[in-house]
């Protein structure tokens, strides 16, 4: 039995690695092969053919795209993605200085959003159809359907400008004291958190309600158990799989949300680094950041799959 699970999990991991490889081909093709000659572009229109040829040789553009791809892939895997075209700084240093900030933001957001979203989702399922459920569901639909920057803009307007509780833009994360750190983190975390919470809450609510429709819940209710007991002790354990799946999937929305949040709050994270890189068309930087994001995304999706497999015995016998 455990062997079956291990086999399926291993299968998912191999599939995930395969996807990542396919993604790397796509990223390299879009940034380095399809747009045309990078050397010509760098030197401008009135460059002599000799200068272009020399630069092409220097940049290694005279070799076939396949060879260049494997070189590049080797560099990414060994942690040497090359040098920034704009600043000349090694890309891995730039990323190393920014990545911890982004991970911190993501970790704080997760720690606060996951329990809250699960709690709200379960309460909504418990009080399904009540005013509380309708209000929460409507709010989450609204949050899901508007762009992240609207949520962030509103948060700044309400908490920093109108109420003056929090600093508006966290240019520097002040880590001098825990209180100050929380204050400068509050708005980015709040905006980012509400986006993923809305997703997670909807999926949690759906998972629990799905279980509530099952026959065994009717049996529990007929036995005379209260609604709370039926939900917490009977439906919830059976919904753990879908919920874990939902949590992992919602966390993958973090990756999209973090791009907007870091830009709007001027937060020195890796997403801001990448957006600046895109604006300046700094390919090595963009490629490395894109691969990091895609890897994180695929890991989260894989985790969601694995949670589904482990929690659902029926999936093991496909």
């Amino acid at each position: 039995m455990n062997l079956t699970i291990a086999k399926m999990v291993a299968g998912r991991i191999v599939a995930g690695l395969g996807s990542l490889l396919a993604v790397s081909v796509l990223v390299f093709a879009i940034t380095a092969v399809l747009p045309g000659d990078a050397a010509e572009e760098q030197l401008g229109q009135d460059a002599t053919p000799e200068a272009v040829k020399a630069l092409r040789k220097e940049m290694g553009l005279d070799r076939s795209p396949v060879l260049r791809y494997f070189d590049w892939l080797g560099g990414i895997v060994t942690g040497d993605p090359g040098k920034s075209v704009v600043t000349g700084m090694p890309v891995d240093e730039a990323i190393a200085s920014r990545l911890p900030n982004s991970l911190l933001l993501a970790a704080v957001t997760t720690a606060f959003a996951v329990p809250l979203a699960l709690g709200l989702g379960i309460l909504c399922a418990l009080w399904r159809g009540s005013a509380f459920d309708r209000f929460t569901s409507m709010t989450s639909v609204a949050v899901v359907s508007v762009p992240e920057f609207l949520v962030a803009t509103l948060a700044v307007l309400v908490f920093a400008v109108q109420l003056k509780w929090l600093p508006a833009l966290s240019y520097e994360v002040d880590v001098s004291s825990p209180g100050e750190m929380l204050r400068s983190f509050a708005l980015p975390v709040l905006s980012l958190g509400s986006v993923i919470m809305a997703q997670m809450m909807r999926m949690t609510r759906a998972a629990v309600i799905d279980q509530l429709a099952a026959a065994y819940i009717e049996m529990v209710r007929l036995k005379g158990a209260s609604a709370a007991r039926a939900v917490l002790f009977h439906a919830l354990p059976n919904a753990i799989g879908p919920i874990a799946n939902a949590v992992a999937l919602s966390l993958s929305y973090l990756l999209g949300g973090v791009i907007i949040i870091e830009v709007i709050f001027n937060y020195p994270g890796i997403a801001k680094l990448m957006v600046d890189g895109v604006a300046q068309r700094d390919m090595p930087l963009v490629q490395a950041c894109a691969m990091i994001f895609c890897a994180a995304y695929l890991i989260l999706v894989m985790l969601a799959d694995v949670c589904g497999i482990v929690a659902n015995p029926r999936l093991r016998h496909q």
Binding site: S19, V23, I30, A32, S145, V146, P147, T153, G256, I259
Partner: protein, 289 residues
Amino acid sequence: MTTATLLPPATETRKRRLLAGWSRAGKLGLAVLAFWIAVALFAPFLSEHALGEMSDAGVFQAMSAQHWLGTDYLGRDMLTRIVAGTPYTIGVALVATLLACGLGALLGLLAAVTGGWVDSALSRFLDTLISIPSKMFALVVIAGFGSSVPLLIAVAAIVYTPGCYRIIRSLAVNINAMDYVLVARARGERRGYIMRREILPNITGPLLADMGLRFVYALRLLASLSFLGLGVQPPMADWGSLVRENLGALPVGGVSVLAPALAIAALTIAVNLVIDNLPGHTDADRETH
């Protein structure tokens, strides 16, 4: 007396049929949607003069009788800016959605009807596209090619094709197994006929609902890109660019940053209301199943 005189005028029945079955929330969504479409159609008639005119009232003004939605970072009338941005906002997303759903539906139908290696090759290829987050894909493409309206349309279309493909394929596979499709095959009908006449009419409802959903996604993606400064480029401006331009108004509580953001919210929520309340779509509360 002919039968024609006994029947009410055709337009009247059509009208009644059009709005019958729509709940109040659905009608609200339709009204908001119709409003924005009207604005988008009106926008090209704005004069060049009105577009670039700087007010003497100054920058980041609050709402006033002269400037209903205040002024922007250059002192231009915000209401005019939003109206002028409507066609870009709606148009780009709409064209991208139509392309994505058209292509997704075509490939989905083809995969379902043909089966075999066509099906698995298509599914495998489009699944690879799904394994890149949409914003990341857009950023990578824009880094490679620079931003332009046709490119933005292409990016959004590519990003949302696989999702539509999946839905249409799974629906079409079920219908493909129906007896009447078998009969059509036995009659010797061509693949195109089966896709178009036997299967497509049976999945138009879900296809339309899916289109609405993809439209909201595309709108969000494009607005986010513009907000990052990587979407529609100046002097063109969609609502996302308007939010970006006027971020400076935040500390003064300016309406100029809030108004375009709320315009996006109004549009996306309206489309959501319409999809959730499509008549005949009985399970409006989709999470329940």
